[in-house]
């Protein structure tokens, strides 16, 4: 009996020790960092880094709301962050531990304050736009030289979509990004939560959905790069990745990305620390490491997304900072809109509508 007790105590002590030996568990989007940075963090701080990835905000949110996820740093997008803050899922950041906070870019912080007032709970990691990726040759073949590749008319006008259907069109499987885009196309307020206004978007989508080959949030990268599809509504960095993959493969596929002229959704992926994070101190160290200008520049140069770190800008490659598809010029920036989370009842109507648009039921 005594012996068991001793072993038990010993193993409990061992567990406690293992937990106190510093480690940090990070849960980030897939393909979203230069992996050299992970080793660099471990070398600089001596903290063991456990890095997991997810591919949808929904999965992350479910883990956050279930509680005790075991993660110390997570990366929700703006609207999801806002909802999770209101559910009490995150802890306030301790600015005393974040010496690099001064590197952050006011332009972005002003916008993320919409989701996280005073940026008290999160720092910006990357941001981008939702727009249209096209295979130039194929689209011009289907619609002629003056195909409206910078306009949402390309994807929401059934006449254009009918001609594009044969070469393949993908839409993001994200109702909260496609519906605002349709509303922008219709000249309505993109962030409208009025169900009558949202119903107008449904009518447009019902007209074009027969010509959409697939609603999916990542397959379009390969699809565009291989020339299997000719148009995708997708995320800026992903379409730029497709462009570069096609260029590297030298398969004759030329991809272009445009933020639609009617206005494009601007989204933000924010790093935050769960309220029940086991290693909050190490988590702050990780955030501070990410906010280091050199590290953030390395991440952006690798994933082709813009970041919210002003000090990193001189260290960005020319094909990142100089590309208006990644860092839009002032005029385009003005034309970008942001959205806010749907209340639960509206969310239900939107999800139901989305199922109907996709499956016809």
């Amino acid at each position: 009996m005594n012996k068991t007790l001793v072993t038990l105590t010993a193993s409990v002590a061992l567990c406690a020790m293992a937990a106190s030996a510093e480690e940090v568990r990070v849960y980030n989007w897939s393909d979203y960092i230069d992996e050299d940075l992970l080793t660099k963090f471990e070398e600089e701080t001596g903290i063991k880094l456990i890095y997991d990835v997810f591919d949808s905000n929904d999965v992350l949110e479910t883990k956050m709301l279930a509680g005790n996820s075991g993660y110390d740093v997570v990366v929700p997008s703006g609207t999801f962050l806002q909802r999770q803050i209101s559910a009490g899922a995150f802890q306030k950041l301790d600015e005393a531990q974040l010496s690099n906070k001064g590197n952050m870019w006011g332009v972005i912080e002003d916008r993320t304050a919409k989701y996280d007032p005073d940026n008290a709970y999160s720092i910006n990691y990357m941001w981008g736009t939702t727009g249209i990726g096209v295979n130039l040759a194929k689209v011009q073949e289907a619609l002629g030289e003056d195909a409206p590749i910078t306009s949402l008319d390309l994807v929401f006008n059934p006449e254009n979509m009918e001609k594009l259907a044969d070469c393949g069109v993908h839409f993001l499987d994200a109702a909260d990004e496609i519906i605002p885009a349709v509303l922008a196309y219709l000249g309505e307020e993109p962030d409208s939560h009025d169900t009558d206004v949202i119903a107008k978007a449904e009518a447009v989508l019902a007209g074009v959905s027969p010509y959409v080959q697939k609603f999916h949030s990542s397959e379009y990268i390969n699809g565009l790069a291989n020339g299997d599809i000719c148009v995708a509504i997708g995320w800026s960095g992903d379409i730029l990745q497709a462009r570069d993959r096609a260029a590297e493969a030298e398969n004759g596929v030329e991809i272009a990305y445009n933020a639609p002229s009617e206005g494009a959704l601007m989204w933000f992926d924010q790093m935050a620390i769960p309220v029940d994070a086991p290693n909050a101190e190490a988590a702050h160290k990780f955030l501070n490491f990410i906010m280091d200008a050199e590290n953030m520049a390395a991440a952006s140069n690798y994933v082709y997304y813009a970041n919210g770190n002003e000090a990193s800008q001189p260290m960005l490659e020319e094909d990142v900072i100089g590309d208006p598809a990644i860092y839009p010029d002032a005029a385009t920036l003005e034309n970008l809109y942001t959205t806010s989370p749907y209340p639960p009842k509206t969310q239900r109507i939107v999800t139901r509508m989305w199922t109907k648009i996709k499956s016809g039921i």
Binding site: D58, V59, L65, K214, N226, P344, T355
Partner: protein
């Protein structure tokens, strides 16, 4: 005492692994949606004692079940799942029976090896096996490349992201569950019955229909349940191989849980699914019992 322990073990098993989880899900299905951790109310707070418990009970209601009846999405999804499960079961019988028959008819020294071959795919992760079907069935996949190279088709067939791909995936995955019970039934079959039939002038074909098929009926029934029940709630195969038009209750459940973040309605969908499944499960139990009695 010993007898009590013997009975207690399976019941404790059932209690811990079925009844308790079910009651938790059932309780959530009676709750209301909330933006909190966890995302529903009320939560049982034992510190307030009996009054708190009564208060907790009074906040539960069947609203979410009523909701399920108000939108045709749900019953259409249940029905479509049942249809896909039924067709898949028939397809696995068509494919599985000849395989099981061949195995049972094979020389005895081969049978262990053949049995091994049926079980062997389980050594690879189920997820990887379904993923590899994506590589086979896609437009630039091996199947299309092969068919185009031998000149059967000139344009690639669109199979991936359709219901055909879902059927292929389900039949492939659940085939062993059909083969094994049919094989077990056929292996026990007394060959002298077939010899007697032939001696009495029965053709091989009619002996097969009059003797082999009826005697393997129990195996076919057992296999059908083993395929039908898990297929009804299948999620992984339709989400990887199916398209957006593939409607199955497993996917609806996922959307309730992840997209709507509505745990209470998701739980209600799960409870109804379980109730629907209880019917085939009871039928399955009856069948097993009948078989045991027949043997006893």
């Amino acid at each position: 005492m010993r007898r009590f322990t013997l009975i207690a073990i399976p019941y404790a098993w059932l209690l811990a692994l079925f009844l308790v989880p079910f009651l938790i899900v059932f309780k959530i299905s009676l709750s209301d949606l909330a933006m909190a951790i966890p995302p529903y109310t009320p939560n049982l707070d034992l510190s307030t004692g009996w009054a708190g418990f009564k208060d907790f009970l009074s906040q539960l209601d069947f609203e979410n079940f009523i909701w399920l009846t108000q939108d045709d999405l749900y019953w259409k999804a249940y029905l479509s799942s049942a249809k896909i499960a039924a067709i898949s079961t028939i397809l696995t019988i068509i494919v599985g029976f000849p395989i099981a028959y061949g195995m049972a008819r094979a020389p005895e020294e081969w049978r262990a090896t053949l049995l091994m071959l049926v079980i062997l795919p389980f050594w690879t992760s189920f997820l990887i096996r379904v993923y590899s079907w994506m590589g086979i069935l896609s437009q630039e996949g091996y199947l299309n490349q092969f068919l185009m190279s031998i000149g059967v088709i000139s344009e690639p067939l669109i199979i991936l992201n359709t219901n055909i791909a879902v059927y292929i995936g389900i039949v492939y995955t659940y085939l062993p569950f059909m083969i094994l019970p049919i094989y077990a039934a056929l292996e026990k079959l007394d060959e002298s019955l077939l010899e007697a039939a032939e001696d009495l002038g029965c053709s091989r074909m009619s002996a097969f229909w009059l003797i082999t098929v009826p005697l393997s009926k129990q195996g076919v029934i057992a296999g059908s349940f083993l395929v039908f029940i898990p297929t009804l709630g299948e999620f992984v195969i339709p989400s990887l191989l199916g398209g957006s038009k593939t409607l199955m209750i497993g996917k609806v459940l996922w959307e309730e849980f992840f997209s709507n973040r509505d745990w209470p309605v998701a739980s209600a969908v799960a409870v109804v699914l379980l109730l629907i499944l209880i019917i085939p499960i009871i039928l399955f139990q009856r069948n097993e019992q009948k078989q045991r009695e027949a043997e006893g």
